[in-house]
Structures are given as C-alpha cells and as structure tokens.
Amino acid sequence: MQKQLAKMKQSLFDQGYLDEQFIQLEDLQDDANPNFVEEVVTLYYRDSVRLVQNIEQALEKNPLDFSKLEGYMHQFKGSSSSFGAKKVKTECTQFREYCRAGNAEGCKRTFQELKKEYATLKKKLEVYFQLARQAGPVEKACRPK
C-alpha cells in the first residue's frame, strides 16, 4: 500500500501537478498532525471557492477591471503555492500576464484552464489522501532523508 501511495505521488510530481512545497508540508506531518497535508488541502479548496466565484463574477463584467482581477489572482496564486499546486500556479501566472496586457480574451480562456486544473488536482488529491489514510498513519516524504 505504501508502495502504491509512493507511486501515485511520484506520478503526480512527474505530471507536474505538485511541486516541492508538497513535500515540505509532508515533512511537517507528525503524531500531532498525521493528516496535516490533507487538512491544508481541504482548507484550501474550501477557502478558494469564494475566490473562484469572485473571479468569475469579475470576468463577467464589461469592461474588465484588470487590476482587480490581478489582485484576486495574486491571492489565488499565494494560496495555491502553499501546498505546491504547480499547474494551478502556472495558470495563475499566465492569467496575471494577460491582465497586465489587458487581454480580456486571454484572461477568460486562462481562467477556464485554471478551473480545470484546479478541479483535476482536487480529484487526484482526494484519491491520494484516501490511499494515504489507508496506507498508514504517517506518510513520510518520498525523497531520502
């Protein structure tokens, strides 16, 4: 089971869904917080719902308020970076670029991509955490200590 877990994690990394920060968080797990990463991710998805909604609403306005959008995206990026959501972060950066360029179409397009990545990651992590819970109390980081 541990092996399966490790494999899954490796693939998430290989596919670029997660980055180093995820490992940092796993390192924080201990007896006091054995499911720390899962808690963090859950918190993130809960908290970012509001943000996603705000962005969507803002994208419906005409004309777009780019600075506001950039602000939202800054927040989003910050949050996403907290546990290493790599692809989501990339989309955030892209979005901000479009904001700065004043490219409304680019923003809207990128946001759709972002939402996709956001949702995909959520599903994958759900599976991962379920596996982790089954596999054993404390999941150690896969890189050698």
């Binding site: 920060q21 940092q24 800054h74 927040q75 990026k77 910050g78 949050s79 970076s81 907290s82």
Partner: protein, 540 residues
C-alpha cells in the same frame, strides 16, 4: 499556545520561546506557517549561554544521550488573519511579542502600513511575506523597515532562522546604548543636571512610568556580554517625545533638542533619532494618504468623519483615526496657521471639534487597549486641535494625558496584577538564574509553554514593588504544576555561587519546580555573568 495572557520579557529569553505573531489573510498559509514555526526546535544539545544577550538566561550543557535534544520549541506562535486584529493584539499585549511576520497583501490593511505601525509603536522586528518577489515590492518593504522579505512558498529552513532578526535588532540597540554611554556620561557631567535622577533609577530600575532602560555600571563593566534592555517607547514616553517635537516644531526638530526637551535622562540621542526617523516616515505617509482623501479628524465616534476616510471599514476606524490628527498636527507645526490643504478637513474638523470634542476624546480612553494608538496620539490633540481651530484656544497638552495614562494604565494593570508580586521580587534581584533552569527540565514537551509562562510571569515589567513572596509561590504552583520532573539542583548551586539577592524567592520556587532528578548536566555557571537584571520594567 502562544496566547497566554501575560507578556514575557522579550529581552530575557533566548532563543527559545520567541513569541511570534503571524498575520495573513490566507487561512491556508496561516495554518502552514503556524505548523512550521511550531516545529522549529532546538537541534542538538542545549548550551550554556553565559554571554551575549543571554545574560538572564542560561541553559546547561547536557549530554546528548540524556535525550534532551530538540525538546524546546524556538517559537511560541500566535496567528491572526486580520491586520487590524493583529494591531489590536499587539497593542493589548504591549511587549507580548518578539517578532511579527506579516503578509504584504491583506484585504483590511496594507501590509506595509502594518509594518510601519508596528515599527513605530512597538518597535518590533517585522518580516514581510509575499508570493510576489518583484524587486520594487521588496524595496518597499525594506524602506518601510522590514527586517526581511520572504517569498512564498516559504520553506521551513527560512523560518527557522528568523530569530536572528530579533537579536540583531537588540544588538543594535545595545550598541546604541553602549556606544553612547560614555558620551552620555560626559554630557551629564558637563551639565551636571541629571545626576541625581540617574542615581535614582540606577537602583530602582528606572522611571517605572516612562519606560524601561537600564544603564548600569555593572552592565557597563560587563558590556560585551551584557544584554541591555532595549528602549521601549511606551505610550508615556512617546507622548513626551511628541510633546517635545511639537514644541520645537517638526521642521526644526533634531534628536538632541527633542531629547533635551523630553527631559528623560536615560534615553540617548540615538534612541530619539531613530524614533524620530520612524515618526517622520509615519507622518509623511499619513500626509500623503490624507492628501488623497478628505481628511477626517479627531472624531473618534462620529461616523460623519469616518465617511471621509475612504477605507472606513469598521476595522479601519481605529487605524485611520490617528492619521488626520497627526497630519493636521504636522500641518500645524509646519507653522502653517492656515493650512490650505487641510481646510476641507478643517471644516469638518472644526465642526467636529467643538467643546464636545474633548468629552468625546476623553471617552475614547475608556475603550481600552484597542485604542492605545489613539490614546497616545491624542496626547497631541490639544495642541493641534487648538491651533487648528485657529482661534484662541490654548494648547493644553496636559489635559488628555492623565486621561490617556489613566485608562491605559488600568487596562494594563489588570493584565499584570497577577504577576506583579512574582516579578517584583525578580525585578530587584540580580539574577535570573531560576529561569533557565526551568528551561531544561525538559521531559515535558510543553516546556516552552511553561518556560514562557515562567518567564513572563517572573519578569513582567511592572513598577510595583511588592513583596508577596507567598503569592509568588502560589503563582508558581498554578503555572508549574506539571513541572514535576525538573531536576534542577543546579539552581541551588547557582544560588550559592551567585548569592542572588532574591534568596527569599527561590526557596519558594524550588520545591515546586525542582526535584532531585539526576541530570547529566554540567553547569559551568559563571557568577560573573549575572549582571543586573533586566528590569524590563516597562510598563505602562
């Protein structure tokens, strides 16, 4: 964990138990940072710190295999997701924190603004964080006085070392103090005016009301190892400062003049200079902000004024309030009797500032700690209010001050009444030997909490010199019930070697704290290292 009610002397505790306040609107990051900070432990064995800032704290070397490694947390963490709340917390527990880490982008207040306010009011090191690492932003952070600027995602190893900022800052202050002591002496000798007052405080720990600072011949002789208490700009002290600045006139002010006018002998020109710099920065920022918005004024309760502030979210009230006041004051002190740009504010200001205004302001004082900033800023009010009114109301600086101090003092004293007795002993003692000992009786992984409590209770700054040794031990009981496994024979040894003056205190403590556990420890304690204790009486 980090939210005990009392404040701890930040100067006395190193490096464990540094009290960090983390401010971030992102709950995910708050959770992560809290966990990361809490995880930062001592690595390896404890060391005996005899010198350097740690004069009041020493740990004994312990053999590694006794298993005492990594049991002590470096930090005691408090988290906060609103900047305004963070400010309130900081003000409430003046001296309750050693370090602030804040995000740059927060909805209720700009991180840079928080940075500035913290620097001005509490003079704590502030570390900024952001996902944005653009040079201009980092520069802005530096300019506003940030000790460091971390980029998110933050790694644990970055956090682990942030304690250095606390000590660096203290070192600078020590240097400031030390560097100018000789000049001070010279100055004093030449003027011959301040001698008697100096003598007074040398022994009693300084003017209890006006903040704390120890300047002490013992420390001087041991200056390289002694850690001096840092100057804390208490409300009272700041008021004196502002008063002096106002009298001189902001444009003509110089640190020496201010210092002279303040009449507080034990602060140095450098202390004043650095505070003045911060104050100027603060005022100029306020001025800029107020040039943009229509200024409110002193109206603390009146919502009409608040509407003038563009960010008049409820939480902003307190923070934006002082601005118009000082801004107007600045205008006033620029010797501009008819400050054109503040005319619009002058109108509402004038309208607000009727005879009722004092009553209203007075009321503010009962709001308690949350308005401490306003309180001491309001100390200036009488000055500029009257001036600004452009009529012949005379400046009455003294009016508000008692009020300010009164309520503020009250709220403070409530918080500290419990510990006054304990620390009153310690404040007079020459050593804090007891403290560190408790630090390493460490099978208990809540050690840091207890240490923290211990220290804070024992060193609570207070001007009250009571003698309640029995109550002290009672307090110890409450705090340290679980200190059952503290094998601290060392304490006794210390007492003997140091001949600490608070002998009567220690015996009360020892039975509770220490049993005769054998620890493999050596305690090369050096009695000489017991410099006068940090009176840390900074009270208010």
């Amino acid at each position: 964990m980090g939210s005990s009610g009392f404040s701890s002397p930040r100067s006395d505790y190193f490096p464990a138990g540094l009290r960090v306040l983390v401010v971030d609107d992102d709950p995910t990051w708050l959770k992560i940072l809290e966990k990361m900070l809490k995880k930062c432990n001592y690595e390896g064995s404890f060391f005996f710190f005899s010198n350097c800032f740690f004069r009041n704290v020493f740990l004994f070397t312990v053999e590694k295999d006794t298993g005492f490694t990594s049991a002590v947390s470096l930090f005691v963490v408090t988290i906060c997701n609103l900047a305004q709340e963070a400010l309130d917390l900081l003000r409430e527990r003046k001296d309750g924190f050693d370090l602030v880490i804040s995000d740059v982008n927060m909805p209720d207040m700009d991180g840079f603004k928080l940075l500035e306010l913290v620097g001005l009011e509490m003079d704590l090191p502030v570390i900024m964080m952001s996902v944005d690492g653009e040079t201009s932003r980092v520069m802005k952070g530096v300019q506003h006085g940030a000790c460091d600027y971390l980029l998110k995602p933050i790694r644990m190893k970055e956090l682990r070392n942030i304690w250095q900022h606390v000590y660096r800052k203290r070192m600078q202050e020590v240097r400031d103090i030390e560097g100018h002591e000789s000049i001070e002496e010279l100055y004093m000798m030449r003027n011959g005016t301040e001698k008697s007052s100096d003598d007074g405080y040398l022994f009693s720990g300084g003017d209890p009301i006006s903040g704390r600072k120890r300047k002490d011949s013992d420390i001087k002789s041991d200056s390289s190892s002694a850690k001096k208490s840092r100057l804390v700009w208490t409300v009272d002290l700041h008021q004196k400062f502002v008063k002096a600045v106002n009298q001189i006139g902001l444009d003509k002010v110089g640190p020496k003049k201010v210092r002279d006018l303040m009449g507080v002998s034990w602060i140095t020109r450098e202390n004043v200079a650095s505070h003045l710099q911060k104050y100027r920065l603060y005022l100029s920022r306020l001025q800029k902000e107020n040039e943009v918005k229509a200024t409110g004024n002193v109206c603390l309760q009146n919502s009409t004024i608040l509407q003038n502030e563009s960010n008049a979210a409820a939480g902003n009230v307190k923070s934006t309030l002082p601005m118009p006041m000082t801004e107007s004051k600045k205008a006033l002190y620029g010797d501009v009797i008819d400050p054109p740009k503040t005319n619009t504010s002058g109108i509402s200001f004038g309208h607000y500032l009727g005879p009722k205004s004092e009553a209203k302001i007075q009321n503010q004082y009962s709001w308690g700690p949350g308005v401490s900033l306003m309180q001491f800023k309001q100390g200036q009010n009488p000055h500029f209010q009257s001036g600004h009114m452009l009529d012949s109301v005379h400046p009455r600086p003294s009016i508000k001050e008692p009020g300010i101090q009164g309520s503020y003092g009250k709220s403070r004293s409530q918080g500290i009444e419990q510990v006054t007795q304990v620390q009153s002993h310690l404040t007079n003692s020459n050593s804090f030997g007891q403290i560190p000992c408790s630090m390493w009786g460490t099978k208990n992984h809540n050690l840091d909490q207890y240490m923290f409590d211990y220290l804070e209770s024992s060193s609570q700054r207070n001007s009250i010199h009571g003698t309640g040794s029995s109550s002290a031990s009672r307090l110890w009981d409450e705090e340290f019930n679980s200190f059952s496994s503290r094998g601290l024979n060392a304490i006794n040894l210390l007492e003997e070697s140091i001949g600490c003056s608070n002998q009567e205190f220690v015996p009360h403590v020892s039975p509770h704290l220490f049993d005769s556990l054998n620890l493999d420890c050596e305690y090369p304690c050096d009695p000489v290292e017991y410099p006068m204790m940090d009176q840390g009486l900074h009270i208010l």
